[in-house]
């Protein structure tokens, strides 16, 4: 008897689960925006103002765009300009707008075996790494960070093909841990690097920072309703407007983690 009651309760739960589908906007975004906690401040403010719930799916830039291509998201916030342009050119995305930026950092072992000079440019740094043939760990996951890294090698005129150049195939955090253990250099977003450094998990140091070449621009792109008829374009448009409004931009400008500013909005003075 008791068993039957239990079964009925559980079956009710089972039936209730799919019914929990809610009216919401799906935002596919990068782990770096999600992990900093920025979205947990930004999204509630938007919901409060508009009554629209936003659910974010934290994945890499490549995957976020892939999800959007399949019409499984309404809007994306990503950071890989080359991929974004293709996404829009192929007709999947519309209304692409720059949202904010921060900087990538080149980090390496404290011993600095390649003798990278902190005052130099990132190109000089990469040249020294390539000449010294020291270990370098790439993300290898088609993330915005890897796309950036590859563009930096190209800009420096180097083909990274020495044996010490390896692909981790993992997210930023695990890649940093691996780089630390391998004594390797790597490119990282600033937020994840700071987090890992503060927990004492890694001892990698910053060797290049705050240069134009290391700029990491984030864009917001809406999914094209012509390609995906069921997409919530109007609500997504409201969301984009909010992000670029004075209120949205101020939240981004004011956001700090561990007392440090993480993002620079595109319209800081607004």
């Amino acid at each position: 008897m008791r068993l039957r009651v239990l079964l009925i309760v559980l079956l009710t739960l089972l039936l209730a689960a799919p019914a929990m589908a809610v009216d919401r906007l799906v935002l596919a975004t990068t782990t770096s925006t999600a992990n900093t906690g920025l979205l947990d401040v930004l999204l509630p403010a938007f919901t409060k103002q508009s009554g629209i719930t936003v659910h974010y799916i934290p994945v890499g830039t490549g995957k976020a765009l892939a999800i959007a291509k399949r019409c499984d998201a309404d809007v994306v916030i990503v950071h890989a300009p080359a991929l974004e342009e293709r996404f829009v050119a192929d007709g999947y995305g519309v209304d692409r707008k720059p949202l904010m930026h921060n900087y990538f950092v080149l980090v390496g072992p404290p011993g600095n075996p390649a003798k990278v000079q902190k005052s130099g440019t990132v190109q000089e740094a990469l040249k020294r790494i390539a000449q010294a043939k020291v270990p370098f760990l790439s993300r290898g996951d088609n993330s915005g960070t890897q796309v950036k890294e590859l563009s930096l090698w190209k800009a420096a005129g180097i083909k990274p093909d020495w044996p010490g150049y390896r692909e981790a195939g993992r997210g930023m955090g695990p890649t940093l841990t691996m780089a630390d253990e391998l004594g390797a250099y790597t490119l990282s977003d600033i937020a994840t690097y700071r987090k890992y450094l503060s927990t004492g998990r890694i001892s990698l140091v910053i060797l290049a920072d705050n240069q134009d070449l290391l700029k990491n621009p984030y864009s917001v792109i809406l999914v094209n309703p012509a390609k995906c008829p069921k997409v919530k374009y109007d609500q997504a448009k409201k969301f984009e407007k909010f992000l670029l409004s004075a209120q949205g931009q101020k939240i981004i400008a004011d956001y700090e983690a561990d007392g440090k500013k993480l993002f620079w909005p595109v319209h800081p003075s607004k």
Binding site: L7, L10, P18, A19, A21, H55, C71, G173, K195, R201
Partner: protein, 230 residues
């Protein structure tokens, strides 16, 4: 050492501090995984019973097939279910992607071959006189099948517990079809994956500890059920 100790003390902290977010995660994990096991069992138990009891051509092949399906990586199951539930997929119209319902479906798909294989094993090793004995005492074929299931109840419950263990600990499928949405589809495992990727190892360990406590509670409850069900 502080790595483990820190996680453990924080896990205890999470348990006693009644952090609503963590309890939300626990409740969702429990609900999704139990629902998935029930859904899978509704198909797997009768199927396992039939395969285990009946003699037919291709039986050995089916047994091998189900044992092979156990090796299916959770990420592949996640990918397949994602393909089905995606907007462009055959079941896209249901709008289940990135909802708890999608996680229930994916976890049920994961648990199904495991429960089926274990039920087949339970029934095959059972005394083959159970069904005929029930029949001679006046059972309908369905009642006889139920009698077989009842005789194999300990092994069948163990199969369900194994199914639960498989789904509540998996992360690949849940993250792919659930999307790890905060307050909505974030389960123990997806939260642990996220915390770890953020470098919050202590929080990850703590959640892992909490997960163990929840799994312990579920297994104790099922053990209690076994003890009563004589």
């Amino acid at each position: 050492m502080d790595f483990f100790l820190g996680g453990l003390t924080r896990g205890l902290g999470l348990l006693v501090n009644l952090d609503p977010e963590v309890y939300g995660i626990a409740w969702l994990s429990l609900r999704v995984s139990l629902s998935a096991v029930i859904l899978a069992a509704l198909a797997a138990v009768p199927l396992g019973l039939v395969i285990g009891q009946k003699e037919f051509v291709g039986k050995r092949f089916l047994v091998v097939l189900f044992n092979t399906l156990l090796a299916l990586p959770t990420v592949v199951v996640g990918l397949v279910v994602y393909g089905l539930l995606s907007y462009h997929g055959p079941l896209g119209g249901l709008g289940l992607l990135y909802t708890p319902g999608a996680m229930v479906v994916a976890q049920a798909v994961l648990a199904f071959p495991l429960i089926t294989a274990l039920v087949i094993a339970a029934v095959i090793t059972l005394d083959n006189r159970v069904g005929p004995t029930a029949l001679t005492l006046g059972a309908t074929p369905l009642q006889a099948a139920w009698a077989v299931l009842k005789e194999a109840r300990f092994a069948v419950l163990a199969a369900l517990a194994a199914g639960f263990g498989r789904v509540i600990t998996e992360v690949g499928a849940a993250i792919m079809v659930g999307g790890n949405i905060r307050h909505y589809t974030r389960t123990f495992t997806t939260a642990i994956a996220l915390e770890t990727s953020k470098g919050e190892f202590a929080q990850g360990m703590a959640l892992g500890f909490f997960l163990l406590v929840v799994a312990l509670a579920v297994n104790l409850a099922s053990h209690q059920l076994q003890a009563r069900w004589k």
